[in-house]
């Protein structure tokens, strides 16, 4: 059952519109509607606020501002990140553009929205620092990254290696602000009754958001229930507690009536976190035959000092290639923008976009095949941690990808292949993604009639978790998938580390398998047998008239020797062909191949889909996505789905996504790792490198938009 590419068990609900997402829940009865009014300045204070007109507008039940908002728990910058309290409307200070200044609750959505516009505000605007480039000299080095890794690593003498050469690359790359932008806006329906708060919440982390909400509202955790049965995507942005949940809860308590609120799409830009803009300096030194003697990656990224998110972008080089002299460093530049957050592929997406583009530059400087260069610097031992790289199959990914893609037909000279008015190029890049493990529980119950129920608070945010949980339980218990009922994402169920970080599948599978083994032991004991034959499950009522259940637990990586004895990663290689229109500079992706090694795959169909989606995110990082800040006012100038460009159908051809047959015995007893972010790793650089191969123009300021290519393109042929 493990590995089978079965259809999603929640698929029929989703395709027929019967999967009910948080804002749509009817469980609490008719709710009031909330609408958030955001600040129109980027920094300063509210000089005056007049809510009288809003309060007298039709249907309005409540207008909350900093003057009447209930006292809340203070923000605490906890290292656990996702369980931080986030109080709202606490002061007259404005720290970022769009910050909530009023919350209007009315009988209908239309009334709440209209009344929110009637709140009259006068601001005292202050100058702020809004652009990274002009404040980059204020960067502060960071000793520790948000995920706990060291901010700086240093081995040997990189400067000396750069001086010695003989071939070196020293280039600066910029990667822009990105947003997760899941299709379901962040939303919450809050229901207060009998001193208990139930939130139907679009979240990736149930247990953590429960704590965050409880601490914000001054409640005990057991006074809060979180339910996230269906979540319309997250990509990092639903790991955190945001304004909509807190405001809905405050209003529901005050009004003794359920309140629901969804962010508008523009508010998804202002009120959820972005990936910080980054300036990368990558340095490489190599011998003439392509052996790396030194590598360095310095990253300077935007942060809000009150809640810094120090994305691990310079860590990608730490385990990827051997080289005696190494230096990776992170620093942050404080700007008056909202706190940045994890966006899919934190660290790897921008880090590999820069680093693997630099590796391509080195390959051309050396006149060595880019695949060959990477194979030459492959390593079985982590160059910085000194322990084996378990499941290191980078070379397999590179060779398999090159073969499938037809890499041997690549144009060797950049700008040399012309088809009519198009320049055609091939590019490739390697990918690596750290594998993590977080504490996760699961419970398995067998009813007296043999029905099996599986429960965990891990949400399925599109990751296929409902389906793979059924597959793991079916395999462990020797039954059919259709005999398993999976219930997820409720705070009454055993807490998990959440859906994010590519760890949901492995965390949950390990815990679930252990729970299933437990239950088999208990049945065997009760039946006086040495082991539990599969067919006995239907008869558990004989020994357990009330049914039987058992829990299983996955421990955090800090307590797991596997994570000390090995350097845990997943691997990939991506190959892309692009055509660049010489008249317009438009880059079209023609085809792409990705080959991945991610341990044992639980569901071949859903894993492939997730990797394919990740590859498209990679394409997008190379060609499409960038959020732009107005440096005068600190607002997102392209904060909607028409202006923040994400790939659409017409941008994406068929994409070959290949999973190597893999099993990583050093990851866990099931051999499973994860695929959620691996698809974004290196795939952007493959496209970026293909654009160089097509045009001979190296763009180091991402994304590669038309204007960055136009001046370097050859003239069109005049009609014969």
């Amino acid at each position: 059952m493990i590995g089978a590419g079965i259809n999603r068990i929640d698929g029929p609900l989703k395709v027929t519109g019967r999967a009910v997402y948080s804002y749509e829940r009817q469980d609490a009865g008719q709710p009031f509607y909330g609408f958030i009014r955001g600040a129109a300045i980027g920094k300063g204070k509210i000089a005056a606020i007049d809510t009288a007109e809003a309060e007298s507008a039709p249907g309005v039940r409540l207008v909350l501002t900093h003057r009447n908002a209930p006292k809340q728990g203070a923000f605490v910058n906890k290292p656990t990140i996702f369980d931080r309290p986030h109080p709202q409307l606490t002061t007259d200070r404005i720290e970022y553009f769009g910050e909530p200044v009023a919350f209007v609750v009315a009988d209908t959505f239309e009334q709440a929205r209209a009344a929110a516009a009637l709140v009259n505000l006068t601001y005292g605007r202050e100058d702020g620092a809004f652009d990274l480039a002009n404040h980059a000299d204020q960067a502060e080095p960071q000793a520790t990254l948000s995920i706990g890794l060291p901010g700086e690593t240093r081995f040997g003498d990189l400067e000396a290696a750069m001086s010695a050469g003989p071939v070196t690359i020293d280039q600066t790359y910029t990667t822009p602000y990105h947003f997760s932008q899941p299709m379901e806006p962040h939303a919450c329906l809050a229901d207060w009754r009998d001193d208990h708060l139930t939130v139907y919440l679009a979240t990736q982390t149930v247990a953590q958001n429960r704590i965050a909400l409880a601490e914000t509202l001054g409640l005990a955790a057991d006074q809060v229930t979180v339910d996230a049965a269906f979540v319309g995507g997250g990509f990092g942005s639903k790991l955190y507690l945001h304004a909509e949940a807190v405001l809905a809860a405050l209003a529901a308590r005050k009004l003794a009536n359920p309140v629901k609120v969804a962010l508008t799409r523009r508010q998804v830009f202002t009120l959820t976190g972005h990936r910080p803009e980054m300036i990368h300096r990558v340095r490489l030194a190599a011998t003439l035959d392509g052996q790396l003697t030194g590598l360095g990656h310095d990253v300077n990224l935007q942060a809000a000092v009150a809640e810094p998110w120090i994305e691990q972008a310079a860590t990608v080089a730490r385990s990827l290639y051997a080289a005696p002299n190494r230096l990776t460093r992170h620093s942050i530049t404080n700007l008056d923008l909202k706190a940045a957050e994890a966006v899919r592929g934190p660290g790897e997406l921008p880090g590999l976009l820069a680093f693997e583009t630099a590796m391509d530059e080195l390959a051309y400087a050396l006149d060595i095949d880019p695949v060959e260069l990477r194979l030459k610097n492959d390593t079985a031992i982590d160059p910085e941690l000194g322990v084996p790289l378990n499941g290191r199959r980078l070379a397999d990914c590179l060779r398999e990808g090159a073969k499938r893609f037809g890499w041997d037909r690549r144009p060797k000279t950049p700008g040399s292949r012309r088809e009519g008015d198009h320049l055609v190029g091939y590019g490739m890049a390697a990918g690596i993604r750290m594998h993590f493990q977080g504490p996760t529980g699961a419970i398995v119950r067998i009813e007296p009639d043999g029905r099996v129920i599986v429960r965990s608070d891990t949400p399925d945010i599109g990751t296929g978790t409902y389906t793979i949980a059924a597959q793991i339980a079916a395999e462990s218990l020797g039954i059919g998938v259709d005999q398993v009922t999976v219930q997820l994402a409720h705070s009454d169920f055993p807490p998990s580390a959440g859906a994010g970080g590519s760890w949901g599948a492995s965390n949950l599978s390990i815990a679930l398998d252990r729970a299933c083994q437990q239950i088999r032991n208990r049945i065997a004991e009760a039946a006086g047998l040495g082991a539990t034959p599969n067919d006995i499950l239907a008869d558990v009522g004989r020994w357990f008239p009330e049914g039987v259940e058992a829990t299983g637990q996955t421990i955090g990586q800090a307590d797991d020797p596997n994570f000390k004895n090995y350097s845990q990663n997943t691997y990939g290689a991506a190959f892309a062909e692009v055509a660049v229109d010489i008249a317009t500079g438009e880059v079209r992706l023609r085809r792409m191949t990705g080959v991945f090694a991610a341990g044992r795959i639980v569901n071949a169909k859903t894993a492939r889909s997730q990797l394919m989606g990740g590859m498209i995110w990679g394409v997008s990082s190379a060609l499409h996505e960038a959020a732009h800040v107005d440096p005068r006012y600190g607002n997102w100038v392209n904060g909607d789905l028409a202006e923040y460009l994400m790939p659409v159908h017409a941008d994406i051809p068929a994409i070959e996504t290949v999973l190597l047959d893999d099993y990583d015995e050093h990851a866990n007893h099931l051999g499973i790792k994860g695929v959620g972010e691996l698809g974004v790793c290196g795939t952007g650089a493959a496209v970026s490198n293909a654009v160089f191969n097509a045009t001979g123009i190296r763009v180091r300021d991402f994304p590669i938009t038309l204007s960055k290519l136009l001046s370097g393109l050859p003239p069109m042929r005049t009609a014969a």
Binding site: N7, G11, P12, K14, V15, T16, G17, R18, A19, Y23, E24, Q26, G38, A40, E53, S56, A57, P58, T108, E110, R113, A114, A117, L118, V119, L121, T122, Y123, G124, R125, S180, Q181, P182, M183, E184, P185, G233, T264, R265, R266, T270, G462, T463, S609, G613, G614, M615, I616, R632, Y633, N635, G639, D640, L641, A642, P647, V648, H649, I652, A654
Partner: protein, 210 residues
């Protein structure tokens, strides 16, 4: 009646320049002709949704999408952006696809509206719904009802000769190519990026294959 004029980029994205020059306020320009009044304006409309007739009493500013979701509790049609940029709200009105967030419910008296719920049920899926499941044409599922409604309409548009931006020859029947399907589906954004699988699903249905 609430005569407040609201705009999609109104309260949450006021003109930054205004904040700088006058210290006034976004609310100012948006206030329109409103005066202090407590009465909510209501309007009755008959909506024919999935062949069933519903009498709805609603605020005339209610979009068709919100009428479906909040009044009829047909939450299959999704609100992704509420400004016609993502396609998650796509429904069929008199057989043609529209963004239901960009039209008011009161404009659809007596129109025949089909939502994703009307195409099929979990036990009796429409062929397009079944193909999406089989080809894994979705992950989180939030854009999916819009993709499916769009896909059903796209095949009809191609069959009935409605040209698109990429149609080469307007005089001939339109070829059911991947380029045509991709172009016509481009108003439906999928952030999970299930695009290649969605195209597979649509091609399967178009080709009459299971």
């Amino acid at each position: 009646m609430a005569s407040v004029h609201t705009e999609t980029n109104g309260p949450e994205q006021p003109t930054p320049g205004a904040a700088e020059s006058s210290l006034t306020v976004a609310g100012e320009e948006l206030r329109g002709t409103s005066s202090p009044k407590q009465e909510a304006n209501r309007h009755s409309v008959q909506l024919r949704v999935n062949t069933q007739l519903h009498a709805v009493d609603l605020d005339p500013r209610t979009t068709l999408l919100d009428a479906l979701r909040e009044h009829l509790h047909l939450t299959g049609s999704k609100k992704g952006c509420d400004q016609g940029q993502c396609g998650a709200c796509t429904v069929l009105v008199n057989g043609r696809r529209i963004n239901s967030c960009l039209t008011l419910a009161v404009m659809h008296e007596s129109d025949a509206i089909t939502t994703v719920e009307g195409l099929g049920t979990p036990d009796r899926m429409h062929p397009m719904q079944a193909a999406f499941v089989e080809h894994d044409g979705f992950q989180c599922g939030y854009c999916t009802p819009g993709q499916i409604c769009s896909a059903v309409a796209v095949l009809d548009e191609i069959a009935s000769g409605v040209p698109s931006h990429v149609t080469v020859d307007l005089a001939r029947p339109i070829a059911l190519s991947e380029t045509e399907i991709r172009e016509r589906m481009s108003g439906n954004i999928c952030r999970c990026a299930a695009y290649p699988n969605i195209i597979e699903a649509i091609r399967t249905v178009a080709g009459g294959r299971p």
